[in-house]
């Protein structure tokens, strides 16, 4: 049951969700040098928006309703994130670095409590996927795992293509390397910052939906733990570093799955995640892939 390969796959499934969320932390940090603590609430909002869409469209066949849920969830998150940046972070651009950090915690509290006022208990996330098990050689995968792994791969690949080859993606990298120089060469830095929040939140929102599809229920504070873990993953990979966030997420997911299977108590897996965070901060504060210090996006 807890065979090594299966745990590895479970870990990669969870890890790819962490990686998607970690990318949002890392993209924003790359440009603003700020940890967007409200990002875990974006994850939660994605789950709620996705849930709402699925319930509303439950009459449709699942590929359609799930597709619509992703579209709605990602778009809603992106818009909320862009608005939150304009309202809570942009006015603090020239303030000391602690100010936007505290503002982010404020946004997090506001978003979480807005949902709390509406629903303070667990909500069942619609079960859309048939519980099909698929055997690939000796390995058994559920359909939902394949969906999670596949869509994370597509999203991460898309992000990589975007920042590597498109004009806007290159401008994002330019801004993360030198914001002032970017403004001087004619890049509208504030718009690039909005774009960064937009993209990071799209990934975070998609992650929220994938996570809820996997675990089957949602709640106003559901973002906290995965958010902290994704943040750990971003630090693990070297915060500000895009491939680092992807690798850090997968690594954290796998170590957590292994921890749950092989540690004396499954609950120790959370301890493991944060022990990793502390160890990285002590031993290698730049993260595993952070040696090229100025590579931030």
């Amino acid at each position: 049951m807890h065979s090594f390969t299966e745990q590895l796959l479970n870990g990669l499934t969870l890890g790819s969700i962490y990686a998607l969320v970690a990318l949002g932390y890392t993209l924003v940090y790359g440009i603003l040098l700020m940890i967007n603590f409200a990002h875990s609430e974006i994850f939660m909002l994605g789950a709620f928006a996705g849930c709402g869409t699925l319930v509303a469209l439950s009459a449709l066949p699942w590929p359609l309703s799930v597709g619509a849920a992703f579209l709605m969830g990602m778009l809603a998150c992106a818009l909320v994130a862009v608005a939150m940046e304009k309202v809570a972070y942009a006015p603090l651009r020239r303030a000391p670095r602690l100010a936007p950090l505290i503002s982010a915690i404020g946004v997090s509290i506001v978003l979480q409590n807005s949902v709390f006022l509406w629903r303070n208990d667990f909500l069942a996330f619609p079960t859309v996927f048939p519980p099909t098990q698929i055997n690939i050689g000796p390995v058994t995968l559920s359909l939902i795992q394949i969906v999670i792994l596949g869509s994370s791969l597509v999203l991460m690949g898309g992000l990589w293509l975007f920042i590597t080859f498109t004009r806007l993606g290159q401008a994002m990298r330019a801004c993360s390397q030198d914001r002032e120089a970017a403004e001087l060469v004619g890049i509208p830095v504030n718009r690039i910052i909005s774009l960064t929040f937009f993209i990071g939140a799209m990934l975070g929102g998609a992650a929220g939906i994938l996570y809820s599809l996997y675990y089957g229920s949602i709640k106003y504070n559901m973002g906290f733990l995965p958010g902290m873990k994704a943040f750990t993953a971003a630090v693990l990979g070297g915060i500000g570093n895009v491939p680092g966030a992807m690798a850090g997420g997968l690594l954290l997911g796998v170590s957590e799955a292994m921890g749950a299977a092989f540690l004396p108590e499954a609950e120790w897996k959370d301890v493991l995640a944060f022990a990793i965070l502390i160890l990285v901060l002590i031993l290698r504060p730049r993260g595993l892939f952070g040696e090229r210090t100025s590579e931030k996006i």
Binding site: Q170, Q177, E180, A181, L184, I187, P188, V189, S294, E295
Partner: protein, 240 residues
């Protein structure tokens, strides 16, 4: 082309510029000289929109530009190469150049300008796939110039372009700046190497502790005793 009236800039309670007025005519090379900390870089940052002036006006081609964000000023043709060149170290040479054309939409013109830049700086073409950060100081200055040219500047403001370069390379950079000027780009040159700057400029302004204390034809400034003593002194002693 550029007219700055009574410009003041403060950092918190410290005033870095006190009522600076300066004019650059179309086609000129104008230099701004002065000691370290005299306010030259602050002045350039203010006209490029990176710092908000507390007082005064900046007109570029007859239109007021203070208050505009930096990227909008670049788009209008006032392009600055900042101190230290500030190329993007982890973008390739070609990506760096393309960032200079970020706001442009004329694909044909961009391709043509890129070809011209590579023609003027064959070395950049050779290294186009290399990361900007791997270039030497002189090569980075060429890249910064190329990147600025990709923005089709009408006025190019340069902050200490020869800083940190070997004398021969610095000479070469100044010659390139003259060539760019001959091709129709107005130049505002900030330099610590006053002799070299006044050598290629038509007019010069001298700044001291945030104010313009002198402005004149470059050749008059080169002959001026006070300028000689304060800014050309080192070279003078070296010559005797």
């Amino acid at each position: 082309m550029l007219e700055v009236n009574n410009l003041s800039v403060s950092y918190g309670k410290i005033t870095a510029l006190h009522g600076v007025s300066l004019r650059v005519g179309r086609g000129e090379i104008v230099t701004l000289i002065g000691a370290n900390g005299a306010g030259k870089s602050t002045f350039l940052k203010a006209i490029s929109g990176l710092l908000a002036p507390s007082e005064g006006e900046i007109y570029f081609e007859g239109k007021r530009i203070n208050g505009l964000p930096g990227h909008a000023i670049t788009k209008r043709g006032l392009v600055q190469i900042p101190e230290g060149r500030r190329i993007f170290p982890l973008l390739t040479v070609e990506e760096n150049l393309m960032m200079g054309a970020f706001f442009r939409r004329d694909r044909g013109g961009i391709t043509e300008d890129k070809r011209l830049v590579y023609e003027s700086f064959p070395l950049l073409h050779e290294r186009r796939k290399q990361l900007g950060g791997t270039l030497s100081g002189g090569e980075q200055q060429m890249l910064a110039l190329g990147r600025a040219l990709m923005s089709r500047p009408k006025l190019l403001a340069l902050d200490e372009p020869s800083m940190g370069l070997a004398p021969i390379v610095a000479q070469q950079v100044l010659r390139i700046i003259q060539k760019i000027n001959r091709e129709g780009v107005t130049i505002l040159l900030v330099e610590q190497n006053a002799r070299a700057a006044l050598g290629i400029a038509q007019r010069g302004y001298v700044m001291e502790t945030g104010s313009v204390v002198m402005h004149d034809q470059a050749k008059n400034l080169l002959a001026n005793d006070k300028v000689k003593q304060s800014y050309l002194g080192i070279q003078e002693t070296l010559l005797t």
